[in-house]
């Protein structure tokens, strides 16, 4: 019997058929023990077929639910299939398979959610001015809401314990900027959230969603949602 806990990599993918093969090949080569599920979020290209041909599990959403919806679906799948932990991994090659061990390590020490935070101050990872500002604002909001200093609230390189997965399978923020919301939710509900420094690659394909008006709208929405969110009923 394998002694390592069963781990599932959840890869949400929307029109990522180009980047997917190399991302999955990397992950497999470095982490052969980890199962992979690709959540095809209503892609218009052949993402699902590509993923299926690679022999990984594919969850094919009938229409686009957005990243939060795709993730919740993946978490539900992980819970259903009895995985003890899961990680969230980008399809576009931004996350490095070689950093997965670093990400998973704190789970063994009792962490519920581990966030991979980019190394350094962004010199080798150029995010651009408006995005940097946006991330700063999010950090401030998150600190103010959780009382904790978090280095990167929007990173999508995350690992989850079984209890965290069960919680997120039940309720996961479904709209854009889900990552910040999920983070605040977890901290407020008393889950053990930790950050670990990791290296990341520049986005190879695809583009960060940073159209300005949309962004402003989502900031306001996020403020309202977070500001009005329930106080934790009990610390687990």
């Amino acid at each position: 019997m394998p002694t390592a806990p069963r781990t599932l990599a959840v890869i949400p993918a929307f029109n990522e058929s180009a980047a997917l093969p190399s991302t999955i090949a990397d992950l497999r080569a470095v982490q052969p023990g980890i199962d992979i599920v690709v959540v095809d979020d209503g892609s218009l290209d052949d993402t699902a077929e590509v993923a299926a041909s690679l022999g990984v599990d594919v969850l094919r959403l009938p229409f686009n639910l957005g990243i939060g919806g795709a993730l919740r679906c993946g978490f539900r799948f992980a819970v259903q299939q009895g995985y003890e932990r899961a990680l969230q991994f980008d399809a576009d090659g931004q996350h490095l398979a070689s950093e997965v061990d670093t990400l998973l390590a704190p789970l063994a020490e009792g962490a519920d959610m581990v966030i991979g935070v980019r190394f350094g101050d962004g010199n080798d990872y150029d995010v651009g001015r408006s995005r940097r500002l946006a991330m700063g604002v999010l950090r401030t909001i998150a600190r103010w809401l959780t009382g904790r200093r978090l280095a990167d609230t929007s990173s999508g390189f995350r690992a989850f314990s079984r209890p965290m997965l069960e919680r997120f399978a039940q309720e996961y923020p479904l709209e854009y900027m889900d990552s910040v919301e999920a983070l605040v939710q977890a901290v407020r509900e008393g889950y053990d959230v930790r950050e670990v420094p990791v290296q990341m690659r520049q986005r190879s394909a695809g583009q960060a969603s940073n159209r300005r008006f949309r962004l402003v709208y989502h900031y306001v929405r996020l403020l309202v949602v977070l500001g009005s969110s329930r106080r934790p009923r009990s610390a687990r």
Partner: protein, 120 residues
């Protein structure tokens, strides 16, 4: 209000009521909504047939310019309806999401079963 205008208003209201009735009888409205709109239609018809009714109600409530009472009531009512619809929409969106996930899982299991059954 002239006699002719009175007739026109009554006819229009009857038309609206008939439209609602048709929707209800075709079961294209759920019971709760048909009840809501039928009572609205009934009230409108009553006011149209007896135009003095509304004015006397307004006077009794101390409203100086009677049409404002009608507008306030109408806007208030419509606001409530819209809020209710937003609520219903949110609930339906949640259900649709859950259904989408359910379909996804079923398709996954089906795919897996087919793959297992397929001769290598």
């Amino acid at each position: 209000m002239s006699f002719r205008a009175h007739i026109v208003v009554i006819l229009l209201t009857c038309g609206a009521l008939a439209f609602i009735l048709r929707l209800v009888r075709g079961q294209r409205l759920k019971a709760k909504y048909s009840l809501l709109w039928l009572s609205v239609g009934g009230m409108m018809l009553m006011l149209a047939v007896v135009p003095g009714l509304f004015d006397s109600i307004a006077r009794r409530l101390g409203v100086v310019y009677q049409p404002t009472l009608f507008l306030v009531l109408a806007v208030g009512f419509l606001l409530l309806v819209v809020v209710h619809f937003s609520f219903e929409l949110s609930r339906m969106e949640n259900r649709i999401r859950s259904l989408a996930e359910e379909v996804t899982f079923l398709r996954h299991d089906l795919d897996e079963e087919r793959r297992r059954d397929a001769p290598e």
